[in-house]
């Protein structure tokens, strides 16, 4: 009973937080109280959060270092946006269908790549995924319908920034729900057990190969959706949007937020989205300071003192909650 209560409590807080964030930004957008730069960045933050969460599933929970996330991102963006350009459905429906198509094509890519590199691990896997990402990008340049190097033009817009943000936010919520449910389920425990000790996991009957393929497929699916959002947000995509730098940036979000920490990924993705823009005042030193800030954040996040503080805070919150429950019970 007690356990159920605390779970419910946590879920309620999460839902409340999600609604509060949406309400705040929606209000800020509709009244133009938020600066316009912040409004566009809110949309960018949405797809970055989706990217970070989906990569966290692969890197944080499965424990496989993947540097090819930009490849899935590109697959989704191009397939979804090409559909969107050629379709005549109402734009709202078109966007959702495009997201599904983009996600599915990327998922197929994820399935193919993961089933072909099952035997690789660690550094080797990282290099192969990196090559895979670059391969997709080169492929996009040479096949027809993608616009080649000059990019894909004329992707329809969802209307106002507010509409684009709202639709993107829906996908963020879906991503959070699905990935959270995966990692807290039986499957999730199987996935983390592979990360922690593959031999032990196999010995209790967990099919490592099947799980690896599943995780890559799901991760790629959401990366694909993020790509579709990107396309409908800037209405123009070019292969340069999907270079391996993007994979690295997403990996930075995952590492900064903490491997296997979903809330951390969300916060880190938002920080990484906003940080370079906040630093615009520094002019040409901007990217230098951005790099320094990243280093400092990594150092601070890993310092024993901070970790200790975090652990203490966790205990305190648990105590408070227990007290509150006890009072209710009495």
């Amino acid at each position: 009973m007690k356990k159920l209560n605390s779970k419910l409590y946590r879920n309620l807080i999460m839902v409340a937080a999600a609604i509060a964030v949406y309400a705040f930004i929606a209000y800020g957008m509709n009244t133009n109280m938020l600066p316009r730069a912040t409004q566009t960045l809110a949309i960018k933050a949405c797809y970055n959060v989706i990217l970070a969460l989906s990569l966290n599933l692969i890197v944080g929970f499965l424990g496989e270092l993947s540097l090819g996330h930009a490849g899935f991102f590109a697959l989704g963006a191009y397939s979804g946006c090409i559909f969107s350009i050629n379709s005549s459905l109402p734009i709202e429906i078109r966007f959702f269908v495009a997201a599904l198509i983009g996600g599915t094509v990327a998922a197929v890519g994820g399935f193919l790549i993961s089933s072909s590199i099952l035997r690789l691990q660690g550094d080797y896997l990282a290099i192969v995924t990196l090559a895979f990402g670059e391969m997709i990008r080169s492929f996009i340049k040479i096949i027809p319908y993608t616009g080649g190097t000059s990019g894909l033009n004329g992707i329809p817009s969802l209307g106002s920034k507010f509409m684009t943000f709202s639709y993107s936010y829906v996908f963020v919520i879906i991503t959070v729900l699905v990935i959270r449910n995966i990692v807290t389920s039986r499957h999730g425990r199987a996935i983390t057990s592979i990360r922690d000790n593959a031999i032990a996991a196999e010995s209790v009957g967990i099919n490592i190969k099947a799980f690896k393929i599943k995780v890559f497929t799901v991760g790629a699916f959401f990366a694909g959706i993020a790509g579709v959002i990107l396309g409908h947000y800037i209405n123009f995509i070019e292969p340069a949007n999907f270079s391996y730098n993007v994979s690295i940036e997403v990996l930075v979000m995952v590492v900064l937020g903490g491997m296997g920490n979903l809330l951390g990924s969300i916060i880190a993705a938002v920080i990484i989205t906003f940080l370079p823009e906040i630093l615009r005042g520094f002019d040409k030193y901007r990217l230098l300071i951005y790099a320094i800030a990243l280093i400092l954040m990594m150092l601070a996040g890993n310092s024993p003192k901070i970790i200790e503080l975090r652990a203490k805070a966790k205990v305190k919150i648990m105590m408070l909650r227990r007290k509150a429950l006890a009072r209710k019970g009495a």
Binding site: S150, G151, I278, L279, F282, R286, L296, I306
Partner: protein, 386 residues
Amino acid sequence: MKMAKRLLALTFALLFLAVGFAGCKKNDTADQLVIGGTGPLTGEASTYGTSVKRGAQIAIDEINEAGGINGIKLKFIFEDDEADGTKAKAAFEKLMDNGMQIFMGTVTSGAGVALNDAIKNEGLLHVTPSASQIEAIISPNSFRICFNDVDQGKAMAEYIYEKLGFTKAAILYNQDDSYSSGLYEAFKARWNELGGTISADTSFPKSATDFNAQLTKIAGSDAEFLFMPIYAEKAAQIVIAANSKNINLPVIGCDGLDGILNYLQGDNAKLVEGLIYYTPFIASDPSENVKTFVAKYKDKYNIEPDQFAADAYDAIYVIKAAIEKAGLTVEDTKLTAKALGEKLVPVMTQIEVDGLTGKMTFSESGEPTKSAKVAEIKDGKYVAKE
């Protein structure tokens, strides 16, 4: 332990400082029109963005020192877009936050295309100095100073075939760059139409540092010249590599080759003797306005201006001409970007500006009409070729 706390404190301090910086740039001045621009100030294409920013700043300072336009002073704000679409979008919004009324950007094509929708929605006057891809000025309120890739590729094919009399081409272009591949497509189409043949059709990826395979192919062909529609830095590397393979074909390129001498020191500079390229601007041009501009630019920034700087300088004067033609007064500086756009966009097709890059007028579609110059490198200097 203490160290960690201090580091954390420092990080936050820096962040707050940054927020402070970012927050206090509102348009607080009356009688001023705010012209905004974006371009790459960091990253691979940063030289172009820096040149544009500098060239535009010189024009702005000149106009303001002369008392403005009908008493209207100009204010110039410039944001970095790293030549990337998503960054350009954020930079553009930032400029709008800071009160931008006229947009003078982007420097690169990809970033420009990404802004099409936003520019159309805002309805403000948009003049790009150097985004040459056809799609970069789709919006009806967009204009450009430079030639577009297609026109330039065509003009180059005609010039080589008709004026120089060559018929067999070797081409080497950058397959990852929309500027380069756009020029290549246009050149090739026109060249075949004219009846020329392509003896060696080669390309390289963006990250290439080794050009052996391509040059071997070119050396084995019967080409009469080497056409390289690429940027100067790579072209310089290729010229050096070609020399070591004893390839002595005349090199011909487009406006991207401007500034190639900066990348070739000492004896290497002799390798590009006789190199021909298409350009709107030659720094050694003897005309009065170019001379003064080059002198001012050198004085202020200690480097010779390139065509990007000249394009930006002209862009500001085009905007000035539009403001004069529309008869704006100091009162009009309070107008929104959209309202100003409604006044300025229609007069753009009526103005004629005699700029550093030639006398230009603008068509309904936003393309400039102006005569191009062909430049040649002679005795280590860029000179006009007739």
